[in-house]
Amino acid sequence: MQFVEFISTHAPILILAIPLICAFLTPLVSRISDKARNIFVTCAIALSLATAVLLALDIYANGARTYVFGATSPGIVLPSGMNLPIRIMYEVDGMSIFMVFISLIVALGASIYSWAATDKYTGKDRYYTLLLLMVVGMLGMELTGDIFNMFVFFEILSISSSALTAYYIEGDSAEGGLKYMLLSAIGGLFVLIAITLLYSQYNVLNMAALASSIQYTTLDIVALGILMTGFVMKCGAVPLHMVTPDAYTVSPANITAMLVTASQACLYALFRVSFTLFGKSIIENMTYGTVGIILIVIGVLSMFVGVTMALPQHDVKRLMAYHAVSQTGYMLLGVGVGLAVMGDSSQMDAFGYKAMEGGIFHIINHAMYKGLLFLTAGAMLYMTGTRDLNKMGGLGHKMPWTAGFFIIGALAISGVPPMNGFASKLLIYESVYQFSPLLSIIAMVVSILTLASFVKVFHSAFMGPQLSDYRNAKEVPKSMIVGMCVLAAVIVVFSLFPDWAVKTIVDPAVDALLNNAGYVHNVVGGA
């Protein structure tokens, strides 16, 4: 019992520490055997996921949790005689733990998938080290309550994911990796400049303490703008989306699935900044409408440009990458509508809350089905050696599992009724319609175009007669199927019980975003 209590007390740091320590143990374990290392890495992620579940149960029962580093007890938020927190602090609420689930589930699927997917390559010990570091980067961004700490994890995430994108120098991977790193580096520096602007005025780096003291001066508005630009750069929304398809195309498939969650970690940072850090001041200054509309405009542009660019593609991963841009638009639209009516409680109750539910539910749905689709694309690449749809055909005869998983993913992304993508898209359509009918119609049109585009992929890759080039093709190795199975299982569960999913994990996340007073109260006390 004491052990469980210990784990529960230190859960916020254990979630992060387990993959971090295991990352640097991986090269040592590799000396034993490849199999030992593969199991070790997967166990590390699974253990971290188990800790996250334990923490989540506690958070859903008792509210947000703070964890202070270096204090005599992790609960001491304010050191004696201080008005402001000076130690690095993790603050975990419903939204953070929701994002942690997404990152860890996709990482679990991707790590199992990579057992067999990388078997023709060398240098896998460092590959897995980087993979675990990428998980650490995402988790750190999602758990931290300190804005400079967030910047550090942002950079860890950028470096490890760009190194993984170009890990196997073949084809154009160096080009994609460099583009990704370049944009991430500039985005990271923007974040650092904004942090300096805020720190120089208020002398704190803790997000809750900053949120309580922000005056919303001109300098703060500039800082908000720079912060948002920095995070939008990496989350793959439209004005700065050019790097997304390049990096997603050339990276190994399991890394691409994780790049999707990496971009969502930046999306989380964007929401955290606009709702929690600046939430109080934008409500008081009545500018929530403007900030919300900025997110909506970015979202609608992403949806439309993403899907129209996806239609003419014939590289399967590039096509899916443009759909990732388009789906990010749905999340920005849903949450943006929520932000645009944040200060107006009657509109918030009427449709704002529902729009945010839809946007946030779409984050987890998208991570699962887009992860699954990228993994199936990796399976096609593994068997055929090409990403070009014009050269593929008839794979359905030889690869029934991959075809089945592709159908699940494609139906979910197009929002066809029984699937989980439909559940979240319906929430967005219904609520956004009350905000502005036009936006809702655009969202539906985009959804139809998505379906058209995936029908094309399915037809040209899986249907038709067997091609003589792929006569020897067979189903991919078992570990790749298991990896895809993990993500497909989550999709099926969410498709069968969308109500349960929304009530259990999505609602606490929405409440956490809207309750910025509570976030502040946990740290600095007072109202």
């Binding site: 950079e155 154009d172 460099l178 590039r318």
Partner: protein, 127 residues
């Protein structure tokens, strides 16, 4: 306004003018230059600007290094330089080195493959 106050103002604002100049120069370099090495240099210049920005906030003319045990015993506590920006800058410098190293190593691979560093000729990924 006498000459002394003007001089003081110039002293106070010079670092921030440098910060703005460095960041704008770096961004210009990233956007306009066609050579990958120069683009990477541009990122490094922006980073120097951000680091200088942090340091400039924590320093005041005549202040003492914030090491309590080594400073003169009669130091006014208000006369210490602010230590946190220095710690932040060190972190950011370390990150910057890692980023620059990674980007340069990728540039080497690109040069090996294409035989050029001109971004107009490296266009395999587009559309």
């Amino acid at each position: 306004m006498n000459a002394e106050t003007i001089l003081e103002l110039i002293y106070a604002y010079t670092p921030f003018a440098c910060v703005a100049a460095l960041i704008i120069l770096g961004l210009y370099c990233c956007i306009v230059r066609r050579n990958i090495i120069k683009i990477i240099l541009g990122v490094s210049v922006i980073e120097s600007g951000a680091n200088l920005f942090l340091i400039a906030h924590g320093y005041r003319t005549g202040s003492v290094a914030p090491i309590y045990t080594l400073s003169p015993s009669d130091t006014n506590p208000l006369n210490y330089a602010l230590p946190i920006p220095q710690a932040l800058t060190l972190t950011s410098i370390v990150i910057g080195v890692a980023v620059a190293a990674l980007m340069l190593s990728l540039a080497i691979h690109i040069y090996r493959k294409y035989g050029t560093l001109d971004v107009r000729k490296i266009t395999k990924l587009k559309g």
